[in-house]
């Protein structure tokens, strides 16, 4: 017994007895030495870190079967069993580099991303609100990027020879109808949503993912904010109106809610800045929204956003067909939008993202001809004038449900698949000058299933392959759309990407219901080649694209004289080259970007008599955007210059003898030039522990007062045309934003360091 105790004790008393050395070299799979790798003997203190030549060496007193573990950031961990006897052990171990978001190539063909988190993005969220010509509108900022047109006579994004309706906008995956305020004749309306609602923006000018559909040209994918940093209240006061809101973050920082309300009335602005049209009911908007966001246990999110707005306006302008009459257009709009989205991690690499959205829109439009004293002109017999007296009520309901499942397959490889269903019900009621009512309903159930895979062959070569299957009950047709993109990263970290895809789209509501016969989806095929170099605060990228349009809708007048989709015999193409250069480094504290687009496009669609360049397509478009923050003045100066060469315009007349449209007149507008300027003044900047923060914003569009002509309207009866120009030469905006409870000073500092 005593002997046993002695043996036991001595084994503890002499722990240094028999130290064995372990040494070796850590390399990558190309035999390059890896410094900084941690080598350890499991469950002991013993181990070492590899030196600059990848060598390591340490001694241990452990014996027998042990495990050596090697870990290094960015590389896969390796465990190696060893048997420690009485002899030194030599181990040479090679580690495999992990493919991570940091070192891997990213597929960027066709798309611009604005994000603060991800690497390799070209824009930040703040860029959207500090671009002078954007006027705080998301799509305004996108119009300074290559691929977009400087269209000012109507809202929306005209991308690479596509119409505005070929660009669709998604919030948290759900399609948003009526993203813009309802159209006014000859005027571009703004987007309804505040750019500060979104943390990420992806603008894809083509070749976008199979997760999205129904857009022949472009997809704007917006991702809403997560939890706010702090509880705060804010107020805004400007020449356009007032607003206020509150965001409340729960104590445990797991959930938040918020509400806001804005009232806009352009009476003051229009009193100072003379408008071309006579706005006898000045544009008035009431807008409220509410949200809640809940962070779930496993890092998921449940988000709700709800929006409602009511607005009205009425304006008069001299009727194009007469010298004495006025055309009066009035609109009242009620719009609601609700979006509930749930993202969750299931573990084992499974994620899901599901959402439902519901929206309604109601437009009440009254159009009439008035005499000089604004009395309504009454007509009893059909004539060109008589048809200008009409009422139109549009009511629409939209509902969407969507689910996307994602499975990560090691590294960045992933498979995504899912389905969505979109229901739309659009009713219109048209009242003719005679009082006769025409009611029409267009209903569609659009069902889609999609799948996509991200596949990294090495960290330098990646592919994204996908497909989308859709069925529309409106046409009772199916389509299947393949999508593919490839990216390759060069040694100098620049990269080339290629994207291909087929895209389908339903006819626009305004050309429906179709008379008879079988309509099919309109179709576009995209081919995009991109080269991009991002380094050291400088970005260069160039894209070559070719887009083939097939099965475009052709229209003919129906019995009421309204253009309706009759067949899919249209076609077209768009091709061009685009350049983008952004530099935050060369000039101190100055950030600028230049974009240029060359576009060659022709199409035969709607009532076009043949293949022609559409009136929204300029051949050359360029933008120059510059931003500078002057610290001592606490002021940011932003300017942008947008330029586009002339766009064509046509007078299309229906020729009864040929039973088709002919070009009766055509021309090209003057070049478009617009210099915009904006200024942000932050008086509280630098005052520490300020609980309120104030920002003054002044912006001026078309500073130089250059002539801007967007196109021409032709008289239907008389033989004359009239230039479509902005309602005023210049617009000046002055406003201040006040926020409480949060010190935004620090935000501003760091945005300008």
């Amino acid at each position: 017994m005593k002997f046993l105790i002695t043996v036991l004790l001595s084994s503890f008393l002499f722990p240094v007895f028999g130290q064995i050395n372990l040494k070796g070299k850590i390399t990558d799979n190309k035999n390059k030495p890896l410094p900084g790798a941690s080598v350890s003997l499991k469950n002991s203190y013993d181990g070492a870190t590899s030196d600059s030549l990848g060598n390591f060496s340490f001694s241990t007193t452990e014996k027998g079967a042990q495990i050596v573990e090697i870990t290094l950031m960015g590389y896969g961990a390796v465990s190696r069993p060893v048997s420690i006897g009485n002899e030194a052990i030599s181990l040479n171990i090679s580690l495999k580099e992990l493919i991570t978001e940091l070192n891997a190539v990213t597929i960027t063909a066709g798309s611009f991303e604005a994000s603060d988190k991800k690497k390799g993005t070209v824009l930040s969220s703040l860029d959207i609100v500090t671009t002078a010509s954007a006027n705080g509108d998301i799509t305004g900022a996108l119009k300074t990027l290559p691929g977009t047109q400087q269209v000012g006579e109507s809202e929306g994004l005209f991308v690479r020879g596509g119409t505005a309706t070929e660009s669709k906008i998604f919030i948290d995956g759900n399609l948003v109808n009526n993203f813009f305020y309802s159209s006014l004749p000859g005027l571009a309306t703004r987007g309804r949503f505040n750019p500060f609602l979104f943390k990420g923006t992806v603008f894809s000018a083509g070749g976008y993912s199979a997760l999205y559909g129904q857009a022949l040209s472009a997809a704007l994918i917006l991702e809403s904010n997560d939890l706010p940093e702090r509880t705060e209240a804010d107020l805004s006061l400007s020449v356009l109106g007032i607003g206020g809101g509150i965001q409340k973050l729960a104590k445990d920082k797991k959930s938040s809610w918020g509400i806001s309300y804005n009232y806009t009335n352009l009476a003051l602005a229009f009193a100072v800045i003379k408008q071309k049209q006579d706005f006898y009911k000045t544009p008035t908007y009431h807008q409220g929204d509410a949200n809640f966001r809940i962070k779930t246990k496993h890092g998921g999110f449940l988000k709700y956003y709800g929006y409602a707005s009511w607005n009205q306006t009425a304006l008069r302008s001299p009727d194009i067909d007469s010298t004495s009459l006025q055309n009066s257009f009035g609109i009242e709009n009620l719009n609601t939008y609700q979006n509930l989205n749930w993202k969750e991690n299931f573990g084992r690499g499974w994620k899901f993202n599901t959402g439902i959205s519901f929206s309604t829109n109601k437009d009440q439009i009254e159009n009439e001809l008035q005499d000089a004293d604004y009395n309504k002109q009454v007509f009893t017999s059909p004539s060109g004038y008589a048809f200008k007296n009409f009422d139109l009520v549009n009511k629409a309901w939209y509902g969407q449900a969507r689910i996307v499942l994602e499975k990560r397959l090691g590294g960045l490889n992933a498979v995504r698949f899912g389905a969505d269903h979109f229901y739309s019900n659009e009713k219109s009621s048209y009242t003719l000058y005679t009082g006769a009512k025409y009611n029409e309903t267009v209903e569609d159930n659009l069902t889609a299933a999609f799948a996509e895979t991200d596949f990294y062959i090495t960290k330098d070569i990646a592919a994204k392959l996908g497909g989308r299957l859709e069925h529309s009950t409106l046409m009772d047709k199916w389509n299947i759309a393949p999508r593919a993109s490839l990216a390759y990263k060069f040694k100098d970290n620049s990269q080339a990407s290629f994207a291909y895809g087929i895209f389908y789209q339903n006819p626009e509501r305004k050309y429906l219901p179709a008379p008879t016969g079988q309509l099919d989806f309109a179709k576009a095929s995209h081919y995009i080649l991109q080269y991009q170099r991002l380094n050291n605060q400088r970005t260069f990228r160039t894209e070559l694209f070719y887009k083939q349009y097939d099965q475009l809708f052709k229209t003919l007048p129906n019995s009421n004289g309204r253009e309706v989709a009759t067949n899919n015999n249209g076609n077209g193409y768009a091709r061009g080259i685009e350049l983008f250069w952004r530099d935050k480094k060369s000039l101190k504290d100055v950030d600028y970007w230049i974009s240029y687009s060359y576009l060659d496009t022709k199409r035969d669609y709607l009532n076009f008599p043949g293949s022609m360049r559409p009136s929204f397509a300029a051949k050359h478009t360029a933008s120059f955007v510059v931003k500078k923050f002057v610290l001592p003045w606490k002021t940011g100066f932003n300017a942008s210059y947008n330029f586009a060469t002339g766009r064509p315009y046509y007078q299309l007349k229906y020729d009864n003898s040929q039973a088709k449209y002919v070009v009766a007149d055509a021309g090209e507008t003057i070049n478009y030039n617009n210099l915009s300027f904006s200024l942000n003044y932050l008086p509280n900047l630098g005052k520490t522990n300020k609980k309120t923060f104030l920002v003054w914003v002044l912006s001026v569009s078309n500073v130089l007062g250059q002539n801007q002509v967007y196109g021409y309207n032709y008289a239907g009866i008389a033989n004359r045309k009239e230039a479509i120009t902005p309602p005023s030469k210049r617009f000046v905006y002055l406003g201040c934003f006040l926020s409480f409870g949060i010190d935004r000073t620090q935000d501003a500092i760091n945005n300008n360091l």
Binding site: M1, I5, L8, L9, F12, P15, P35, G36, S38, S40, N43, S44, Y45, D46, G47, A48, T49, D51, S52, M73, G74, T100, L102, D116, K119, S124, L126, E229, R230, L631, P632, K634, L685, G686, K687, T688, T745, Q746, D747, I749, N750, N751, N752, L753
Partner: protein, 214 residues
Amino acid sequence: MKKLLFVSILMLSAFFTMAQSAKYNAAMTGNLAAIDSSFKNPANLLSLANNFERIATAEKSQWLPYYYAAYLQVMYGMMLEDKSGCDAIAEKATALISKADSLSPKNSEISAIKSMIATCHMLVNPMQRYMEYGMEASSLLEQAKTEDPNNPRPYFLIGQTLRYTPENFGGGCQSASEQLQIAMTKFKAFQPASALHPNWGMQRAQMLLDECKK
């Protein structure tokens, strides 16, 4: 005989614990002594961080080795020339400090390291990340202050940040010195719970103060 066996086992286990803790103390002391000199060469910081991590994973129940492993990782990240690597290092440090946190909750020293990790994330792109990580860092320092009002390190870290913030934005030497003075008073009064407990920063605080006096 039974009694003898019992006593022996008791002695043995006591001895075992002592030996174990002597080994722990020795390893910790040795590595702690190496910290100061390792700041000259970031590679040494990483190697020391790995040493502490090995002690931490072998011991499992001690928060201090996890704490030092996280501290050295985050210091390594902050000394990188190319700050784009900070994210990965900060994630590694977060994994380590979370373990320390679960072993010793509501610890002012641990909150201070967490704030340094947030700062490390911010350094990758200060312009865009301030709102998230800058705020997080300063609220963690406030938390560290309340968890232990005598801890000088939160005041030192605030002073250090102010020292490198432009005067226009409320930074600069004057406001930094105010905080660093508070830190110095607290450093002088500070008694670490043991020789192994955190007790760093005084030298650097004095250095920053001296820089400002010039």
